[in-house]
């Protein structure tokens, strides 16, 4: 579904991603670990095509289409979606409006289906009527982002730290809904969606079964492997050590 080859990206003249290659097939969920500043968020923003992220080299193909020159909204139309870690607040634009926009609806009224979806995320009508992200708590931001994604229903979903700043109860709820969004409750051959999840703490991994995990260091994928293994290594040994262990393993193979 998503193919990234030899990608080099600059942000404000500084090279953040360097010769990165990554493939995500339909039905797969990948997890991306990495220390702060290693380029995880930059990768997501580049896939989404935000203007400050300049591709200097390489290729991104989504569903067989070269998307490098497409604006963000065209990429979204092709079927990608993103849950932001720090979404901006927009005065006078309500969460309910955002949901309608994500659904591609022009009306002001909120669809019954959305209200149902919102209920499952413990989002009340009052909350739908609040200006999006204004004064939202950490958990509220996540739930609002996921509600918008549910409305948008993309085939390929990127999550930027769905588990940061969220209490345990909410992580479980978010994890459950994400699993569903990513077809994790279906048999592997029936899974149509794909996802890329950034996590710093790895706590969301308890609720989502991923197919593959990567460790990113200094703008490259330094190590890839089975999610359990990688998660365990990262948690126990830290990023650098995990990469070291990965390389050793590669060497002995």
């Amino acid at each position: 579904m998503l193919e990234i080859k030899d990608l080099t990206v600059e942000v404000e003249g500084k090279e953040i991603i360097n010769d990165l290659t990554l493939n995500i097939e339909r039905g797969e969920v990948h997890v991306l670990f990495g220390p702060n500043g290693c380029g995880k968020t930059t990768l997501l923003m580049t896939i989404l095509g935000l203007p400050n992220y300049k591709v200097r080299k390489g290729r991104i193909t989504f569903k067989g289409v070269n998307i490098i020159d497409l604006p963000t909204n065209e990429r979204v139309k092709l079927g990608m979606g993103m849950s932001f870690q720090h979404p901006p607040e927009i005065r006078g634009v309500k969460l309910g409006d955002m949901v309608n926009i994500a659904q591609g609806r022009k009306e002001e009224k909120i669809d019954e289906d959305v209200i149902e979806l919102a209920k499952r995320l413990n989002i009340s009508d009052d909350f739908l009527n609040r200006d999006v992200n204004r004064g939202f708590s950490g958990g509220e931001v996540k739930r609002s982002e996921i509600l918008q994604l549910l409305a948008q229903s993309p085939d390929f979903i990127m999550f930027d730290e769905p588990d940061s700043g969220v209490d345990v109860e909410n992580i479980e709820l978010i994890g459950r809904i994400l699993s569903e969004l990513l077809d994790r409750n279906k048999m592997p051959s029936k899974r149509k969606k794909a996802g890329l999840i950034i996590t710093h703490s790895g706590s969301i991994m308890r609720y989502i079964k991923a197919d593959r995990a990567h460790v990113m260091l200094e703008g490259r994928i330094a190590c890839s492997g089975m999610p359990n293994e990688i998660t365990k290594n990262v948690m126990e040994n830290g990023f650098e050590k995990c990469v070291e262990l990965c390389s050793e393993k590669e060497g002995t193979e």
Partner: protein
């Protein structure tokens, strides 16, 4: 004050320049003749119907307790459907009510500037609206001041009185026909909110690039009285300057001013709202949203003066710049004359944040659509205090005006 004395004071102020706004040569504009009266608002020629609709006026008179239309300098329609409500031209009202002279120039000094003076010396009607004591007229009254002739100087004096414990909701639309290249609108409006009464005043200005506009408005609010003003301007004009003032003289008198201004082209606007809190526990809230694009220049003023014990006032003005050749000057002022007061303001002028556009694009909107959603959101002030149907309708009018400019 006797009429003779008023006239004398007006004469002396004939050349007195206004404190704010560029000076207009009133003598360049003429008084127009009489137009054919109408039997119903719907009889207005089709070419003008859209002008009325665009300024919130319903030609079918549906869901209106009364309708008033002044075309240029001539009152062509005035009707009332509800008992307890009076609506007619001010000229008519002065003939009918001898006592009305006690309300003339009581909220605004006749010699404030050359514009007030000229309205006294060369008045061309205006509307008089009054709700009787205890009568709650929840269905809105509509009044339209319409200009259809070139070079016209429309000089109206409006007087609105809500008697004790009554309620009055007014939609007033000021509009101009596309055939007019240049015209002047001088509008004096005096509002009297008696004890326990409430007036909501929703004004839509639907002007055109050749219009010069100088409204002069003031409100006197007695004990427990409420005045809510909603002002919407979304069309270009040559110049507008106004600074309506509410005097909360009574105990617990309350005023809210909400203004939404979108200035395109070469529009020059100097607008503001002022509240003088004299009554004990009186309250004011001034909210404004101003967008300047192209080469428009906006001065957004607001002023709360606290003079009464435990008075409370808040100002919230936000400006949005959409062009480098536009200008927004935001001037919030607070004056405290006692220690037991609570006055505050927040003001901000900025541009559309890039990350807001990107966020909306990530939900599937194009850059243009995203910008439009952000502007719409910026201007979206929750209108409070209106009856539900009117609030809905005001929102509709606002959306419609916005639709036209976006």
């Amino acid at each position: 004050m006797m009429r003779k004395e008023l006239l004398e004071r007006a004469r002396r102020a004939k050349t007195k320049k206004a404190a704010l706004g560029e000076d207009i040569a009133i003598e360049n504009f003429v008084t127009g003749g009489e137009h054919e009266p109408l039997n119903s608002l719907n009889e207005i020629p089709d070419e003008y119907k859209q002008n009325l609709l665009d300024s919130g006026i319903e030609p079918s008179e549906k869901d209106r307790s009364g309708s008033f239309l002044q075309r240029d300098c001539s009152v062509v329609f005035s009707t009332v459907k509800y008992p307890g409500l009076e609506l007619m031209s001010t000229t008519e009202a002065f003939k009918k009510h001898d006592w009305l002279k006690d309300y003339l120039w009581k909220a605004i000094p006749v010699d404030m500037d050359k514009y007030t003076a000229d309205v006294e010396l060369d008045q061309t009607h205006g509307y008089f609206i009054r709700s009787e004591a205890g009568k709650k007229v929840t269905m809105p009254v509509q009044s339209c001041l319409f200009i259809t002739s070139d070079k016209i100087g429309q000089k109206v004096h409006n007087i609105v009185i809500a008697e004790e414990n009554s309620e009055l909701h007014i939609i007033t639309g000021c509009s101009v026909s596309h055939a007019v290249n240049s015209a002047l609108h001088l509008g004096v409006s005096e509002f009297y909110v008696k004890r326990g009464a409430k007036i909501t005043f929703t004004m839509i200005h639907n002007w055109s690039p050749g219009m010069e506009v100088r409204p002069r408005s003031a409100v006197i609010i007695e004990d427990d009285g409420v005045f809510i003003s909603n002002y919407i301007l979304m069309t270009p004009l040559k110049s507008l300057q106004m600074y309506p003032t509410a005097y909360c003289v009574g105990k617990n008198a309350r005023v809210t001013f909400q203004s939404i201004v979108y200035a395109p082209g070469d529009t020059k606007i100097d607008f503001g709202s002022r509240a003088v809190l004299q009554g004990e526990g009186s309250k004011a809230e001034i909210i404004s949203r101003a967008i300047a694009t192209d080469s428009a220049k906006i001065v957004a003023r607001s002023d709360v003066i606290g003079e009464g014990a435990n008075a409370k006032g808040h100002i919230e003005c936000r400006g949005l710049m959409l062009s480098d050749s536009a200008e927004v000057d935001s001037i919030p002022e607070l004056k405290a004359k006692l220690k037991d007061l609570d006055l505050s303001h927040e003001a901000a002028v900025g541009k559309i944040a890039e990350e807001e556009i990107q966020y909306l694009m990530a939900r599937g909107l194009s850059e243009e659509e995203a910008t439009s959603v952000i502007i719409r959101g910026f201007l979206n002030v929750d209108i409070t205090g209106l009856p539900e149907a009117l609030a809905r309708e005001t929102k509709k009018m606002f959306d419609m005006s916005l639709e036209k400019v976006m």
